[in-house]
């Protein structure tokens, strides 16, 4: 299976967290060209890793035959990212709140919470036989035209 596929604004990886750094490098390179603030850049980069980690583990169940595709759209006033898996879907609302006292010390279960905290818009859409697409938006002002 072809490992990493890239186009101008898209990267596709097999379902393994070993490719997380490749995704982060791709996203950072794109965002740095736009002169995004360090803080906004970190927020977007963290959110991408959260969404990709979920897609690999909970969406595609680490099945290396399935892929995770990350697409970026950078406009003057916002950055939109789509993370698509090829899994059977999951209910993001079924994840218990990580800030409830009984969950604070758990090692996992904060990804979606952090994604929602850092981004201005987050939307989950599931299509049978297609997979889940997580779309998230950060309103910010890139200082250069991308």
């Amino acid at each position: 299976m072809t490992e990493i596929l890239k186009t101008e604004n898209q990267i596709s990886i097999p379902s393994s967290l070993n490719y997380l750094k490749d995704v982060d490098d791709f996203v950072e390179k794109k965002l740095k060209k736009c002169g995004l603030s360090e803080s906004d850049l970190a927020d977007v980069a963290i959110s991408v890793t959260e969404a990709v980690t979920n897609a690999v583990i909970h969406g595609n169940k680490c099945d290396l035959q399935k892929r995770v595709t990350i697409t970026l759209k950078i406009k003057e006033s916002d950055i939109t990212i789509w993370v698509k898996d090829q899994g059977n879907g999951f209910d993001p609302d079924s994840v218990p709140s990580p800030v409830e006292n009984e969950n604070v010390l758990k090692k996992v279960g904060r990804g979606i919470f952090i994604l929602k905290s850092l981004m201005d818009e987050v939307d989950f859409a599931y299509e049978p036989h297609e997979g889940t697409v997580v779309k998230f938006v950060k309103h910010c002002l890139p200082s250069k035209k991308c």
Partner: protein, 112 residues
């Protein structure tokens, strides 16, 4: 993430560098802490000054480290928590769990 360590006044100081996002990062920290425990070194400070950011996996790694050290009768403290990480610790309420210090010296001294 790159991980280095040094011993300061019987305290083991772990210094991760870069981004802590998962994949191989988790086992690296876990293995190093278990190595400390096997040597009887149970007081650990993680110096976060050179960490750009971490995600939820990174937070999980810190929690796992804290639990590992406390279960072996030791302690793990944080030093030089950056603004971005501080913000994540706050929104996840983990700020109530970790003992954080503004400098490495302060964290080391706090074990006395």
């Amino acid at each position: 993430m790159k991980l280095s360590f040094q011993e300061v006044k019987d305290i083991m100081v772990l210094s991760p560098k870069g981004k802590i996002m998962g994949g191989p990062d988790a086992t690296q920290m876990h293995d190093q802490l278990h190595e400390f425990i096997s040597q009887g070194k149970k007081k650990v400070v993680i110096d976060l000054s050179k960490v750009d950011w971490m995600n939820s996996t990174g937070l999980g790694i810190l929690i796992s480290g804290l639990t590992t050290m406390r279960n072996s009768g030791g302690e793990l403290k944080l030093a030089n928590v950056t603004e971005k990480i501080q913000s994540l610790l706050t929104i996840t309420k983990l700020i109530t769990v970790f003992e954080c210090h503004d400098s490495l010296e302060e964290a080391v001294e706090s074990f006395k």
